[in-house]
């Protein structure tokens, strides 16, 4: 194969994430052009903390979507683990370390329960995670009937601050998750199996792909990543709160971020890197409207319209269809 066609294939395969990246670059350029002095290290760190939080939840959402499922409980798991972190992650260093392990284990366990019900209960993921989401939110309320709690300030300063005075630590955390977590994972047998199950569960089954294990692991990883997000949430807020609206918002935004990042809701394609870019796009919308002095009342409408426009980019494929049957 010539080098040129290899490039062409890589381009086609990554069209979604690249389009999202282009949108993000454009928005970021607009932001810089309008507000060149705003790029102080402190502002970038704050922006990065907020964006990385959504990016991690979007990463969590990605794997179930790739297997042609959906996880409507990611926001609830995030809130639940955030509440847990606000009770466990403080005190002496060993207590903090143990707390982190327990919080992440709690997230992974919540995800594993989702996966087990989806795989062994043979129920639709969307409805399973809807119901378990209610249960997890109940647990969050049990842990924190009223907002409060305490989180280790040392850890909070370290993780929401900067490395070497320049790089936001949350961006480093995100890079670590991608390079040490996602990149190796998608090359494993189970990682490939997640894609295979999403493309065609039947064909995957007939080819001897470990589809049940793949789905189980996909939801467990989703739970684990939501746990990471919950930990980060508590570190940013320095307390825990069982907020239903927040959980719902993060769940819905995670789906939007995944779609903007080029992962198909019909499964089988996409990846976490695209979702991260999608999350950054979503987060930049608000900041962009702010620097352009959009009236506060118009902001929600603009945000909605831009979200709708972003998901409509995918509709361009309708124009290329030659045979109408390809539509279905």
């Amino acid at each position: 194969m010539s080098r040129r066609s290899e490039w062409g294939m890589a381009l086609r395969r990554n069209g979604g994430p690249l389009a999202a990246l282009a949108v993000f670059a454009l928005m970021f350029a607009l932001f810089l052009a309008e507000h060149p002095r705003s790029i102080s290290v402190a502002i970038v760190t704050t922006a990065s903390n907020k964006a990385v939080l959504l990016a991690i939840v979007a990463m969590a959402q990605t794997l179930p979507v790739i297997t042609r499922g959906l996880d409507l409980s990611v926001g609830m798991v995030m809130v639940m683990t955030g509440c847990l972190a606000s009770t466990l992650v403080n005190g002496a260093p060993w207590q903090v370390a143990l707390g982190i392990v327990l919080v992440l284990a709690c997230g992974a366990a919540a995800g594993a329960v989702n996966g087990a019900i989806v795989v062994f209960g043979r129920l639709q993921p969307i409805i399973v995670t809807l119901a378990t989401g209610a249960v997890y939110f109940g647990f969050a309320l049990l842990l924190r009937p009223a907002p409060g709690g305490e989180v280790s300030e040392g850890l909070s300063d370290a993780l929401t601050g900067r490395l070497f005075g320049v790089v936001p630590a949350t961006l480093v955390l995100l890079a670590v998750l991608v390079v040490l977590g996602w990149m190796p994972f998608r090359r494993t047998v189970i990682g490939r199996a997640c894609y295979a199950v999403g493309s065609s569960e039947h064909a995957a089954y007939l080819s001897g792909v470990p589809s049940e294990r793949a789905k189980l692991l996909a939801y467990t990883i989703a739970g684990l990543l939501s746990g990471v997000a919950g930990l980060l949430l508590s570190l940013i807020a320095l307390s825990g709160e069982a907020s239903g609206p927040q959980a719902g918002l993060y769940t819905l935004n995670s789906i939007a971020a995944v779609v903007i990042g080029g992962t198909s809701l019909y499964g089988g394609t996409g990846g976490m890197v695209g979702s991260i870019i999608g999350a950054f796009v979503l987060r930049t919308i608000g900041d962009l409207l702010f620097v352009f002095n959009a009236p506060a009342l118009w902001q929600p409408l603009f945000e909605g319209l831009i979200l709708l426009a972003a998901v409509c980019i995918g509709a361009a494929r309708v124009l290329r269809v030659r045979n109408r049957l390809e539509l279905f």
């Binding site: 019900i117 209960g121 119901a131 209610a134 249960v135 939110f137 049990l142 998901v311 409509c312």
Partner: protein
Amino acid sequence: MGASELIAAQPSAGVAKGPVRRLLLSPPAVVGLCCLLLLLAGSAVNRNFLMPTYLLQQLQIAAFLGLAAAGLMTVILLGHIDLSVPWTITTGAMMAAAAGATYGPAWAIPAGLLCGALVGLVNGLGVALLRIPSMIFTLGANAVLQGLMVLYTGGHAPQHAATPLMHDLAVGRTVGVPNAVLAWAAVSVLVHLLLARTVAGRYVYVMGNSERAAYLSGVRTAQMTVVCFIACGMLAALSGVLLAGYSGNAYQAMGDPYLLPAIAAVVLGGTNILGGRGSYLGTVAGVVFIVLLQSMLAVLQMPEAGRQIIYGALILAMLLLYGRSAKVR
């Protein structure tokens, strides 16, 4: 029993043997039985749970959820979903109250329904013509509606009160039966007849099973999709109009608590979330079950945490009983 009901009432594959057993194991029957069990269990604690006043009051509250769920079900049967229901409810309510105050009370309800129909039209066009997955398109539509309503109200509580007719429709009674229940019953009969007894209704099921096959058989699939989304939008708006009448006026985010229970009610009633299978009777049973469950947990003064856990766990347990899909082989 016609062929239509046989398809519609089929639970999961491989359970049913004879016709009687099939009927007893059908989701509407199971959910109905669960409602009865719930009432009996509740009456052991509090005698009031069996009083007609309490039951009628619950049905009245169920009407708001029931109307939204009826519309949502038609869309789910197609294999789509409408996540814009929450702000369609709110938009319907706010616009009805505003039109009533601006153009005269007679315009209130038509204006609310018209807004719902417009939302449904946009959703339907986006899904049917642009071929954007309904889950993400309606999510965007929900955000846009929220933006429009924030812009319209200035972010405050809307000033216009519900018109007397809206109030009467929501809380008034005709020969002892709440008007809201009558409205829900009328809509229910209509939806049931449309789905089970008309050609268009059959097309909805066909499209839910295979849109491609429906298209090749000459069904105008795009048109059907748009019509179903319009029905969903109008019913959500109607639910919002009644809700505004019930509480005296419209308020921000009034529709938010209705989306997830509506989806849960439709699925509990035996409708396949991927479309193509389900009976409307099941949806009604699902709505009644969810409203009873929520109300009883509230009356028993269960803290919110316990309510959420029991609510989620019960839905899962019931679905594990009868909602399982066939094994991949």
